[in-house]
Each structure stands twice: as structure tokens, then as C-alpha cells.
Amino acid sequence: MTKNSGQSPPLQQKCLAPYRALDLTDDKGFMCGAILGGLGMDVIRVEKPGGESSRNIAPFYHDIPSPEKSLYFFAYNINKRGITLNIETEAGQAIFKRLAEKADLVIESFPPGYLDDLGLGYKGLEKINPRIILTSITPFGQVGPHADYEASDIVSMAMGGISYITGDADRPPVRMSFPQANLFGGIHAAVGSLIAHYYREVSGEGQHVDISIQESIIPLISGRLDRWHMQHYIERRAGASVFRGQVRQREIWPCKDGYVNFRLMGSKFTAGIRPLAEWMDEKGMAGVLNKIDNWESVDMAKATQEQIESWENAFANFFKEHTVKELYEEAVKRRFYLGPCYSADQVAKDRQLAARNFWVQVEHPELSTSITYPGSPFRLSLTPWNIHRRAPLIGEHNLEVYQQELGFTQDELVRLKEANVI
């Protein structure tokens, strides 16, 4: 593991360092600023006095429910400073406008129209700063018949089409037990913001980036969409198997101490299957697979369900005799297509991630400890991403921003606090 936050690359080596974002998001949009912040952007969370309510998402540090101990908040608000500001007051709006004058990006996830009503939507912000980019993240986007629809993760995943094909055939469609919908919205918000940013730097013009969480989920099922569009065929959920055309093929297989991911494939993919069959043969367990003379001629699309199942039986029996570690390590050595089906503790112990120094330590002085976080999602050779600060406490940077930067005096800040403006 590498100690990361104490070895922050110098400012000039962070590619988005010259830019600032004001982050007004709740959990629908946290991810955007966290990733941009890791690239050096100065991301400032702007929360209502007392803190944003998404600070109460479990799990908590040592299960202590507190707005400054939410692990969800920690994870997705790294790399951000934090101030409190009540934008529903006139004084608060005035302060926000001062901040927006010098900001490059505003990220928000309020219901469509909320910021407009406060004079802080794109039209309002553009007047103050024509270069500004406003990125809005909502379940269904800014416009359209469902724009005002209420959502939560299970609803978004349902409307995005992924739930229908997920789960077991004899039970309801199921969502991933750790919520994903907002993360798709957040990551596409970062994509859209940077594309708009590139255009802005070239043209001088800002614009409004509209992110619909539903639209951000739909790419997950693109192959299935094509199957409807081109073949008028709707695939049903099939548990740990998947329908390829009319036949069902297993994808998750029990092994001696857990599960592995493996899919039997033929024709051009046999390079990744044959080495496994050879290993099985060495152990005397190839069974019916030995009847296959020419793997390249095996066409899964033409195989019958019985045929596939007889082949799959051979693999199933073999996997049951071996551990995840044995199967995965042999897959790497012999270059066949198989992956581990890990739980969180197994991910944490994965050899490849450890060798890559993927895990980083982030200081949490308020907890008198440091915590292990996932490290860089991508590695840029000159301007690396990193975690340079933990998630902010409520109003942690009020003094830095209001006093040092905007020039408010101590007295003025006290009065603003009393008036519930900050």
C-alpha cells in the first residue's frame, strides 16, 4: 500500500489544477467532483448550514451514525473542500454569485427548476460568468415528460432497463445490493463536464450539461437493446446464466471455496478455452470435451441446449474440485478466460491489485487514523490522479473561503451564521 495524501504531486503536475468547481450535489452527483478533484480541480462542496442530508447514508465508520462518519460520504467526497451556505436566502445567493464569478464549473443535483427559481440556474449564472459550465444530474434529466419524476436507486435501475434482465427466473427482477444508479450519473457528469470544458477553453463559451441518470444506465444493456431492435427478441433473466440467442449458458460457477466467472465459447474464442480443457484432460477430467476434435468449429449459436449442458457439466465438476485461487492462477498461467467471483475481502487481498499498489492510505486526523481507499482509477504518466484530501467536515473550509478569499471579517461571519446564511 502506498501512503498517498502526504505525497501529493506539485500543483503544476495536476492537470485540472487551474480550475474550480462548486459542488452542490447530494448523493445523486457526488462521484463527479470526487473524480475531477483527484485530477487537481479545486472542488468546493457547498452545503446548507448543518450539512447536506446525504451525509447520513450508511454504512458508518465503526457503525457510529454521524454526518461526519458516513463511509458513503467519505468515499465519494474525497478531494473536495467544504463550506456551508444557505442559497435560499438573498444573502446566500449573493455570496454564491460571487463564488460563481470565479468558478469554472457548477455541479448540482437539485430537482429541475430549483436553481432557476433562485436565480442560480444556467440563465442566472451565465449572466454573471458567460464562461461557466453548469452540470446538472437528475434521475430523468432537465426536460421531458418524466423530468419531475421521483426516483431512488431501485426505480432508476428499473427504468434504465438493467433490472429486468437481472436475477433469477423464478424471482423478481433484482438490483445490485450496493446502489449504482447515481454513480453512472456522476461519472457521465464528469465526462460531459470535461467535454464542455474543452469546448469552453477553445471558444470562450460555457454551456449547460444535462445528465439523466436513466440515460446513463441504459448503455449497460446495449446488446440486449439490439436484440429487440433487430430480432424482436426479449431476453429474460436467467440467474447465473445468460441467454445467448435461444440457449442458456452458465456464467457463474460454484467451485470448492467460492465462485468463478467463466463462459464457454467456441470459434474464434477457443484460444481462451482450449488451455482449460487441456488442463482438465491432464487431470483426467475432460470427459465429453475430449470428443471435440476441432474447437474452432464449435459454434455456440448452433449448439443445442443438451450439448451445451453436457459440456458445461464437465467444467462444473472440474471447478468444484478446485479453489478460486487455484483456478484463477492457472487461468493466468495457461491464458484461458476465467475470472474470480470475489467478495469485498477477496478483492482487498487480490494479488494483482496489491502488486499494482492500487490501495492508498488517506489520513483522517479527526478519527486519529488513516483509512484504506481504492486508488487511481486510471494512471496518467505526467499528471497522476490521487487522493489529496479526505471528504470535508461540515463547513470545514468556511474560514479559508469566506475570510481568506472573499474577505469577510470575523464579525460578518458571526452575523451570517446567526442569520443561518452559512
Binding site: C15, I35, L39, Y61, L71, Y72, F74, G141, V143, E150, S152, V155, M159, G161, Y164, I165, P172, V174, M176, F178, L183, F184, I187, I195, A196, Y198, D210, S222, D226, W228, H229, M230, Q231, G239, I252, P254, Y259, N261, K268, G272, R335, Y337, G339, P340, C341, S343, A344, V347, A348, D350, Q352, R356, T372, Y373, P377, F378, R379, L380, S381, L382
Partner: protein, 402 residues
């Protein structure tokens, strides 16, 4: 029409999903993208069903068309002795090069950053791989459907059964967006400093950011989260409820007492709803199994569409568990947002594209259909990368454009 990424030149030497999606995003927003592919070793997606009319063909795959709009196709046999010269011209032209093979393959083909940098010192190169370009398992050929087991599959399904899994090659549809972010950041840095760089994108490492709190829960609380069906720790009713019709469901999520009261009213205040065991959130959570059955005794009488409509007028989160047919043909909201664009595509005819999600007010994406394999070889060579007609003909005769 203004294009956000006009003038950016991209060469894509990548197959399947991750690299091609990065190229597709950039092309959709106006970058010029040359896809380098070979008839001898076609992009895997060209060999993926569904095919037009079920007839196999390199230019008939819907999966390929979706991931490769807005690109030129240059047919190039990378193993041919003359390929290096063509590749060098491409590298000289490109601002960004997208690679998508395991590190040892890229190396064997001479497609490494050091080589590209020699040709153009400020080039930006991104290599996408399953597990990164270093480490003991870097050269293990890895596909999204094998990599989704890195934490995701075990979180999907029912607590009393083995995992159901993510149903799709999940990491293939999480990591490309991180790739676009990395490339756009590098382009910004280049614009300001004139410096290029190399980007290493590991599907697993990027995707694990979609599980950060789960990982933190393990590191900090020693807890291994697992699948729990559709349960929530703070909302009940919270599930997919069966509706009228064949395999029709509506997801409903009620996380406050206010929503609960509105819900009870809208379903006609049935007697069971007033039972003390459903009075508070903790009680509804505790009795959620029974509650779900009772809710479903109501939902089963209505269509999913009707339930979503009724709930939403009372500001209760509810949504149809949409099928592909629902999304493509019935979702009026997506239609109005111009999420779809029907394009004429060679050999397939009309194809209903979906635009990249980010909707930019001044520089929206604009889609053009995916290319047939090698359809732009001559154009790319003679009009884009600076080959003379004679040089092109000579190379053509050498057989390198296969």
C-alpha cells in the same frame, strides 16, 4: 452546428468495448476518429450477434454498430511487414491513440508509447486492458464478463442462493467513461503545456470506484457486504412488485412516513395498512416480507404503467421495470429527449442509435453511422494521413490493407 471536440484527431487500435467506447464518445462530439481494424482479425464485436436478419457478416452486427459510430475504418494487417510505415503515418497524424490489447500483444505489435513518442513527442496514448499494464497478471487476456467478478457479481441476487451476477459484462460499461475523463484531462493539459503523456486504464481498477463504500466497509468495519435481493436498509415498501401481465413489474421505494401515508391513501386505505406493525419505518423494515406480499396483492391488479403514473402523481418514487421493448419503443420521455437517432447503416439498413448520455446545450453530440470494415482506407490514407496516391496504390498491392 458547433462540435465540442472539433479538430481533435484520434486513432483507435482497440477491439470489443472499452477502447471503442472511448473513441465513440469522442467521435460523437466531433473528434475525427480513425479505427484501425483488420479483416484477418476483426474486432470481436463484428462477430457478435445480433446480426441483421440473423445472417453472419462483418458489417451486420448491431453490437458493433452501437459502439463504433462516428469513425472512419482503415483496414490494416498489423502483422504485415509494411504495416509499420502506415502506423507511423497514423501516429504522426493523431493527437490521441487508443490501444486495447494486453500489454504483451501491444508490445509485439510495436504499439507502445515509447515508439509513438519517438514519432510525435507530444502524443497522448491511452492503453486499455483488463488489469493494467503491469503486475503479475497483466498479460492475462481479460474480458468484461470475466472481470465483473471483482466485487460486483456477489452483490447481485438473493441471500439464500448463489449469486445471480450482473447479467452484463459490467466492467465494460463502467471503465470506458473513466477512460474518456482521463483522455479529456490529458488533452486539457496538452493544450496548456504542449505536453503529451501515457494513460494506463485498468478495467478492474476504474470499475472498483463503483464499490468504494463497500470496500471501505470491509477495511474499516471488517464487514463483507453481500447480496440481499431488493432489500433496502432504510426503505419499506421497497421492491419490484408484480403487476398485471406477463413478467411485468413496477419498482416502488418508500423511505419516509409522508410517502407511506400518501401511498396508503392512493391504494385506497386498505385495512392491513393501518396495522400497528407497519406504523413506523423500523417496523415496516422488520415486517417487510409480509408487507411486500400485501403491496403485491394490490399491484397485481394494475399495469406497471398505471402504477408508475399513480405513484408519481403523489410524488412516490416508482418506475416500470422496463424491458428493451419498453425503452426502445415505448418510453416517450426518452423519445422527447432525442435519446434515439435512426441512422442508415450499410448492410443493416436502419439502426436505432442511442446518443451518449451527456446532453450539452450548445454542442450536442451528433451521430453518424458506423463504418463497414475498411470502407475508408483510401480516404484515410490519401486525404487524412498524407499518403500520395502512388504510395497508396503500392501499399494496396502489397496486401497490407487487409
Amino acid at each position: 452546428m458547433k462540435e465540442a471536440l472539433k479538430g481533435i484527431k484520434v486513432v483507435e487500435v482497440a477491439i470489443a468495448d472499452v477502447g471503442p467506447f472511448i473513441g465513440q464518445y469522442m467521435g460523437s462530439f466531433g473528434a475525427e476518429v480513425i479505427k484501425v481494424e483488420s479483416r484477418l482479425r476483426p474486432d470481436l464485436n463484428r462477430l457478435s450477434s445480433p446480426y441483421k436478419d440473423g445472417v453472419v457478416g462483418l458489417n451486420r452486427s448491431g453490437v458493433f454498430v452501437y459502439a463504433n459510430n462516428n469513425k472512419y475504418s482503415l483496414a490494416l494487417n498489423l502483422k504485415h511487414s509494411r504495416a509499420k510505415g502506415v502506423m507511423q503515418k497514423l501516429a504522426k497524424w493523431a493527437d490521441v491513440i487508443i490501444g486495447g490489447y494486453p500489454p504483451d500483444t501491444m508490445s509485439r505489435l510495436g504499439l507502445v508509447y515509447e515508439e509513438f513518442k519517438r514519432i510525435k513527442p507530444d502524443t497522448i496514448v491511452i492503453n486499455t486492458s483488463g488489469k493494467g499494464d503491469s503486475g503479475p497478471w497483466a498479460n492475462h487476456p481479460a474480458w468484461g464478463f470475466n472481470l465483473r467478478g471483482y466485487g460486483f457479481d456477489q452483490l447481485v441476487g438473493w441471500p439464500d442462493r448463489m449469486p445471480s451476477g450482473t447479467a452484463v459484462a459490467y466492467t465494460d460499461r463502467v471503465s470506458p467513461w473513466f477512460g474518456v475523463i482521463a483522455v479529456m484531462s490529458a488533452l486539457d493539459y496538452h493544450r496548456r503545456t504542449g505536453k503529451g503523456q501515457y494513460i494506463d486504464l485498468s478495467q478492474v481498477e476504474a470499475s472498483l470506484h463503483f464499490l468504494s463504500p463497500v470496500l471501505l466497509d470491509y477495511f474499516v468495519n471488517n464487514r463483507v457486504q453481500t447480496r440481499k435481493g431488493n432489500q433496502s436498509c432504510r426503505a419499506a415498501p421497497h421492491n419490484a412488485y408484480r403487476c398485471r401481465g406477463d413478467d411485468r413489474w413496477c419498482a416502488i421505494s418508500i423511505d419516509t412516513n409522508g410517502k407511506w401515508r400518501r401511498f396508503c391513501r392512493v391504494i385506497g386505505n386498505p385495512k392491513w395498512a393501518t396495522d400497528a406493525k407497519f406504523e413506523t419505518i423500523p417496523k415496516r423494515l422488520h415486517n417487510s416480507e409480509e408487507l411486500d406480499k400485501l403491496v403485491e396483492s394490490w399491484t397485481i391488479n394494475y399495469t406497471a404503467e398505471r402504477i408508475m403514473e399513480i405513484m408519481q402523481t403523489k410524488r412516490i418514487p416508482a418506475g416500470i421495470v422496463q424491458t428493451t421493448e419498453d425503452i426502445l419503443d415505448k418510453d416517450l420521455h426518452l423519445e422527447e429527449r432525442n435519446y434515439f437517432e435512426v441512422l442508415d447503416t450499410q448492410e443493416i439498413g436502419t439502426y436505432k442509435h442511442r446518443r451518449p448520455p451527456p446532453l450539452l446545450s450548445k454542442t450536442p453530440s451528433s451521430l453518424s453511422s458506423a463504418p463497414s470494415l475498411g470502407q475508408d482506407t483510401e480516404y484515410v490514407c490519401t486525404k487524412l494521413i498524407g499518403m500520395t496516391d502512388d504510395d497508396f496504390i503500392e501499399l494496396l498491392q502489397s496486401g497490407v490493407f487487409e
